[in-house]
């Protein structure tokens, strides 16, 4: 590069100086990324051998060398395991079901399917089948992962073996593939395949009194290629969790029919987003974070703590959940000691919403400092005391709020949300219909 190039550099920079980061980009990326992960594991219906581009964890590129030498598929190289490995009658039924499914999906395969595992479970006989792909097409770019096979669990039904969701297997390995399935009409049998790595199992998600999540894990003991676990019925929500070690989100073991259970009729109801700014928010946030202007402005603070380390104790590390349409609350303000205040809710399935208060000084990362449960059916759904005498955060959508200290006079505190003085003793909530209720502030 010579000094004479500086004119071009300058003009390219001037042409892009107006750009600011899209508002809410991080949240959108995370949501989109999660959708892609689900899609990546989801139905492989109609991946035609002909040229049809389907996004499976990225753009599907049919490259010119798609028919080059076959890539090794380790799952095809292991003998069938499980106590039904020698049951030719059952294996034949599985192969017939598999071929019926292949016809429906027009999936391009070569050779015969390989039954990796076949065994009895309390829900009936089950299996896992892998079939080499006829073309090793590139299914993601620029990583250039190639499709090497298709695979699926086979579940027992009253009509015989049924092939569950078919997934692509790529030369990147099986980490992205489902390794478990919930079987039986009550979905109370968890079949976990042995892919050669230790797996930890948690039967249920629990909450501590302050809303932090708690999971207890136990090692999955594989026998002859799989483990069969009895679990509580998982018909409407998934409480179980599986993870390779170490236990963390990146190591989650996917359950093939989790999304079918969670979203039997499509997507989950959208939550009502309640975003409020407390008086004086501009002093520490540099503006009103609820506005598009703020989110568009360069240098604006991150307006959500979702996905950050600060909320790690409140996030299920291995579970799969949906929303039930309950409100999602975000409150922006300043604490009396000058720290930035952010209050957010997290809610899974039909379980209570957790309310978490976070504080940050200047540009330092947020720290979760207090939390509780919200009760959206109560006159005052949110009441959360901040530490260090920083006040009590209260919220009631659409209501006028006032408070008093002891027997003192009632002080107006605005609508929807307020940060009350730490020594406030009662809140008066006047809802949209004019009904007045008084709620003590005792904790």
């Amino acid at each position: 590069m010579t000094s004479n190039d500086s004119d071009v550099r300058e003009v390219l920079h001037r042409a892009t100086d107006h750009l600011v980061g899209p508002p809410g980009l991080l949240g959108e990326v995370r949501r989109g990324g999660r959708r892609r992960l689900v899609r990546r594991r989801a139905v492989l219906a109609a991946v035609c051998a002909a040229v049809v581009a389907v996004p499976l964890g990225g753009a599907l590129l049919l490259t010119g060398d798609a028919r080059e030498a076959q890539v090794a598929v380790p799952l095809l190289d292991v003998p069938t395991r499980g106590d039904l490995a020698g049951d030719e009658s059952y294996l034949r039924q599985v192969r017939e079901a598999w071929h019926r499914r292949l016809k429906q999906t027009e999936t391009g395969v070569s050779g015969e399917p390989h039954i990796v595992w076949a065994g009895t479970t309390p829900a009936g006989p089950a299996a896992y089948v892998v079939h080499r792909a006829s073309d090793n097409v590139v299914v993601s770019e620029p990583a250039n992962d190639r499709m090497v096979a298709v695979a699926a669990f086979v579940e027992p039904t009253a009509d015989g073996p049924r092939v569950m969701t078919m997934e692509t297997v790529t030369d990147a390995g099986t980490d992205g593939n489902s390794q478990a399935a919930l079987l039986g009409p009550q979905r109370d049998v968890l079949l976990v395949l042995d892919f050669g790595q230790p797996v930890q199992f948690s039967p249920t998600l629990e909450y501590l009194s302050d809303g932090r999540v708690e999971r207890r894990f136990q090692p999955v003991v594989f026998r002859d290629g799989a483990a069969v676990l009895a679990v509580r019925p998982q018909r409407t929500k998934i409480t179980v969790g599986l993870s390779r070690t170490p236990i963390r989100q990146e190591n989650v073991v996917h359950i093939v029919n989790a999304t079918d259970i969670l979203f039997p009729n499509g997507d989950s109801p959208s939550p009502t987003l309640l975003r409020y700014a407390l008086p004086g928010v501009e002093q520490v946030w540099g503006g009103d974070p609820t506005t598009a202007e703020y989110q568009n402005a360069p240098g604006g603070q991150e307006v959500s703590a979702q996905g950050t380390e600060a909320l790690a104790d409140y996030i299920d590390p291995v579970g799969t959940h949906r929303g039930d349409g309950s409100p999602l609350l975000s409150v922006y303000g300043s604490a009396p000691d000058g720290r930035r205040l952010l209050v957010e809710t997290i809610q899974y399935d039909d379980e209570p919403a957790r309310v978490i208060a976070l504080l940050a000084r200047d540009d330092a990362p947020f720290q979760a400092v207090a939390s509780t449960f919200a009760d959206w059916s109560a006159p005052l759904p949110v009441r959360l005391r901040l530490p260090d005498d920083q006040g009590v955060l209260v919220a009631a959508e659409g209501a006028a709020l006032s408070y008093r200290i002891g027997d003192g006079a009632w002080q107006g505190a605005g609508r929807n949300v307020a940060l009350l003085p730490a020594d406030a003793t009662a809140v008066r909530v006047t809802d949209a219909s004019g009904t007045v209720r008084t709620v003590p502030v005792t904790s």
Partner: protein, 173 residues
């Protein structure tokens, strides 16, 4: 559904998305398309995080280049939205908008790979080797694309002199 890629991914998005958006804007010539492109690429990074976390920006840049080239191939068949229609926001000065339009128009006149080479080399100040990695070609090809692209871009920009005042050669940045 809830999951977390951890603070590392969040930091990457927070700190590098504006730089990538600038590249995407000059490669696509359209702010909305650039934002869409950026989001698509970052989602791809999210999905691939375990494999790309050691060099997520290089991965994202490569994906950006590939997708932008493909997009440019079919954009000619679709009517293009006028830049000024949605980019002329209140805080912009008229000359800023003019510069933008001229530069985007000039970049559009370049073949796709010359445009990519110019943008990565002169907006991002990447080395020849890094541009070659992003474009998936040899360093020699990058030099050739960049030189031709730069030459042609100068011609295109020079034709817009009544609108665009180029800074003096050698001015520092």
């Amino acid at each position: 559904m809830t999951d977390s890629r951890g603070a590392e991914f969040d930091d990457f998005v927070r700190t590098r998305s504006l730089v990538l958006l600038r590249v995407a804007f000059l490669l696509t010539g359209d702010r909305h398309a650039a934002e869409d492109l950026l989001q698509e690429v970052l989602e791809q990074v999210y999905v691939r995080w375990r494999r790309v976390r050691s060099s997520p920006e290089a991965y994202a840049r490569r994906a950006l280049v590939n997708r932008s080239i493909n997009r440019w191939r079919w954009r000619a068949r679709r009517p293009e939205q006028a830049l000024g229609a949605h980019d002329r926001v209140a805080r912009d000065h008229a000359d800023g908008v003019a510069v933008r339009e001229v530069v985007v128009r000039a970049l559009r006149a370049l073949p796709a790979r010359q445009r990519v080479a110019v943008v990565l080399r002169y907006l991002e100040d990447l080395s020849i080797a890094d541009v070659a990695s992003a474009m998936g070609c040899s360093e020699g090809a990058v030099k050739s694309h960049a030189a031709r692209g730069l030459s042609r871009l100068r011609v295109e920009l020079a034709e817009s002199q009544p609108v665009l005042t180029l800074p003096d050669n050698g001015s520092s940045r």
